[in-house]
Symmetry: D2
Subunit: 328 residues, 4 copies
């Protein structure tokens, strides 16, 4: 029979995303609701190995639901990838009589949690916090919705100047391996083309498409490019190619960069974070372990961490088609 958990710990790890603070708050308050003590661990697994954690109560997390970033700070830890590192972390948790860990982050975070669980049979629960939406087992990762709005707002601004000058803009958005951000903001930003890692359009077809677009009467164009797009080695090479192979266009590049990770979370992300925190805590208290909490068909569901890590999210083909039709 599993022993009753009396104390939980929560940490954020890997790249930060909007909604992480709301999730921390939710974990802490769900613990308070169930009379469980909750420890906040600083700087992810780094802090865990150092014992850099402290108790948080319901009031400690006041006023953070609308803050970007993470009050627990985040880090990537090399040492936790070693057996020795994980042993250190385990010792610190046992010492503090902590009986379960909620890890908020992406697939690197989950891999660490899963191995940790396998080695020490220590209860872990993952909450998917990343703007990339590249985790299987949830329709939305924490921060994805906020990042979409941040990017669309930036594209709206760039369009103002693009259409005042009849310019062609290449706008790079985050998404090294997946095009979820690019595809959504491309549609929402009214982009003429969307270049994503999952689909290799080819440079010639891009130039063809832009030429058609201009012929059909569009005087300015926006092309959204995911970081990891395969067409050009990078967006500046893309610009060079178009400069050389298209006439009459004034081509500009904008790399949106790290502002995509910040900002007050959207209502959706705050609600999602609140739901996920409660689900994570209550799942651990129900002696579930090694799962990720996710949103599937509108409901909170658990997915084994292993599946969340191994799986690869698929691009929504319907969206690709909608995007094509919209750039008619």
């Amino acid at each position: 029979m599993p022993k009753q958990i009396k104390k939980l710990a929560v940490l954020t790890s890997g790249g930060d995303s909007p909604g992480m603070n709301a999730a921390i708050r939710s974990v802490v308050r769900a613990c308070a609701y169930h009379d469980i003590e909750c420890y906040g661990v600083y700087r992810g697994y780094e802090g865990l190995m150092e014992g850099d954690f402290e108790p948080l109560n319901a009031r400690s997390v006041k006023g953070i639901i609308n803050k970007g970033g993470t009050i627990l700070k985040s880090a990537r830890s090399k040492e936790f990838r070693t057996k020795e590192g994980r042993q250190k972390a385990y010792d610190k948790l046992i010492e503090a009589q902590i009986g379960g860990l909620v890890a908020i982050g992406g697939d690197g975070t989950f891999t660490g949690a899963m191995i940790f669980n396998q080695e020490f049979d220590f209860p872990v629960m993952g909450i998917p916090g990343t703007i990339d939406n590249d985790i299987v087992g949830t329709s939305h990762t924490l921060g994805f919705d906020t990042a979409l709005n941040t990017v669309v707002d930036a594209i709206d601004k760039i369009r103002d100047t693009a259409s005042s000058h009849n310019r062609l803009f290449f706008i790079e958005v985050m998404g090294r391996d997946v095009g979820h951000i690019a595809l959504n903001v491309g549609i929402a930003g009214g982009a003429e083309e969307i270049l994503i890692p999952e689909e290799d359009l080819g440079l010639d077809r891009l130039v063809d498409s832009l030429n058609r677009s201009r012929t059909s009467g569009k005087s300015s164009s926006i092309v959204v490019v995911a970081e990891g797009d395969k067409i050009g080695k990078n967006i500046f090479q893309l610009k060079e190619y178009v400069d050389e192979n298209m006439e009459g266009y004034d081509v500009r590049v904008s790399v949106l960069g790290h502002m995509q990770r910040g900002g007050a979370p959207s209502c959706f992300d705050r609600v999602l974070a609140s739901r996920m925190g409660v689900k994570a805590v209550e799942s651990l208290l129900a002696n579930k372990t090694n799962y990720m909490v996710g949103l599937l068909n509108g409901k909170m569901e658990l997915t084994p961490l292993e599946n969340a890590i191994k799986g690869k999210t698929k691009i929504n083909l319907e969206l690709l088609r909608v995007s094509d039709i919209m750039s008619t």
Copy 2:
């Protein structure tokens, strides 16, 4: 065998919502993509009866995806509720050789469309555009997500001043019959209590809860109240009751009002609108009629208009519980 549709019309009716323009744009561009002529009808059914419509092409809807309101304007029509009114509308459509109608709006709009379809066997397709999210057959109505963000942003601002002054704020949000907006923004805004039409908390329990909240160390509080909440006849009476029955609180009221309907649509609403417009047009072209386009489990699905109108959306009980736990 149904005849081939060559021309479609699109209108917006009832209360406007963010994303309506994005939906109009999508309907128009999906028509262009399928070489169908598209007419924009002004002022909803009023304009339809008057023949106040004109052809729109892909360029006509340029630059509107990010605009609130509706370029086709909206209205509520008494005359269209009469047989004579609908006959007028039918005559105008036949005269212009229009073979199908996309109606964007809420349940009043859909009721009109359904009766019109039944009487004249005229192909109609509904797109749910309302901030209230009170339509069965779609997890999200157009504008709901944007309105949530607008309201949460306002609550964040009010909280600044509430917590600077140790005040209790009653904030009224839209939702005459349903508490979807209130419930979501209440969680996202960190409200201590959420009063919704679906649940009668009772004034005494409200005062108890606020007292507990203060005892637990909270110096300021926010209570989100849906327009249609049953507790008090209105929010000002609520304030009076609390003024009389609680000591030491400086109680203020804020009615957010019509700003909730406006603003640039969120990325989510723009993408949803784009998907719905395509689905509506292609469904009509596939000779489907009398349906509403909706988002169910992440996919575009059709629901008979009759079901969309008759049904009553249910409040998400999980959210109610999360809200309780968060105000620990």
Copy 3:
């Protein structure tokens, strides 16, 4: 010869305004820069009388420059209006060896500071923090610029729905005695009429003007009303009058309320706050007392508190004229 100040205190009092935190941060950091200890006083004069203050260092005010409200909280104090109350406050200051006080607030705050200075010869310096911009001796009070942007954003949203429905909206904005907010947002929001306390248009002329506006082809209209406007006892009576005396308009009312006080301060308010904090501290250190820091012709200037209080700001007649021309 005045003694050298070693410790300063800072407080916020009266209604809060965006930029107060930025001003607190600036006062604290200017003290650190000059090796002066700085005390933060909680809840304005209330906390001062109770000795509710603590030392703040440069790191204490980290991350607050972009936060609305005031981390020191604010209050209105009746007791400080009595000689006994002020004596208490003086005793607490002397006990803590504090040699000067920076008071951030409006005319009520300054009146308190001035009387306190006169009675105890205690060095005081005022920073004008109020969204109303009703203080003589500065072209801009802290928070005014932010509030203008907040209100204009709300008006933009309301206009979306107003123009979708051909409606007339009365929008009430803050400004009990002065029309600065109303005048600026009225111009920026494209209002057809602006009703301010300084100018009595008269109800008949308002109706005339709205009728002319409609005749000239405007289908929707926005009228911005300052809280303190003299025309109607309040905005709802205004609506009733227009309902009765104009035909065919669907009249709606929106009272923007307390959200006008909150939100992240604009760049302008943050820079202004930073300048004012430095100026206030350095003026006290230079043995100036009983002044308010202000922005005049782009420069930091001192105005005797007495003048700041007694004076009445004047409405910019050029703006009134521009407003008339714009609603052509």
Copy 4:
């Protein structure tokens, strides 16, 4: 005796800036108010030479006060720099019986207008529209205030992620020759250092300063860099230098780019644009010519175009000092 002007033209030229549309609207409505016909010229001087203009009335400019970019579009014209080009433009204006020209733009635009005036004695009036605030004769150019808020909002977002990861961020903002944007957003964004073209800090001193900053307990830092800063050839070289010469910092770069030019104008810019448009039209009607309209000490004033072009704005030394004190 100068002849009475019956028709005016307005154009936007050079880089676009938020508020240009509000200025166009104001010029058009001021003309309507004075019963003058107003022509909108497309694509700046290019369109002027081609006769690409059309009459605009008060309704034509409805709903544009809050739109970024310019409905008249903008361009840079090589041909207008030739005598032949200007002759073409003159012929088109005379042909259309237009008696004066309002040119909205920066110093390039004004240089063109001034030469045109000198050659053909044609009445011209400039309105300073550029986000850089680098024009003598006005405390604020149109778009400067909006750009400041856009940049500060982006910095706030980047700070979220910077402080979650203990990172050092170099953020490049616009300002090729002047540091006005950098200096203001640096203060408002709480930057540790601000690198501007007007001041050569030197790379060693930068590294020293960052080291001091870290020693004093700051775990993350933001350095704002104006495009034209002299320290490094560009911001990526700056990063390389710091990577090589400082240990333990994770250095990132963000180039904000063209989004700084777009977006809905702030209240300030809308009001300023409205005032400038009226002043420009009424000055031309009063037979003034070859001036720029500007805001000086809160009032609308005229400055000879020649002075506006030749002069070089100075960095506000008080702001530099405040910035130093704030990064204490």
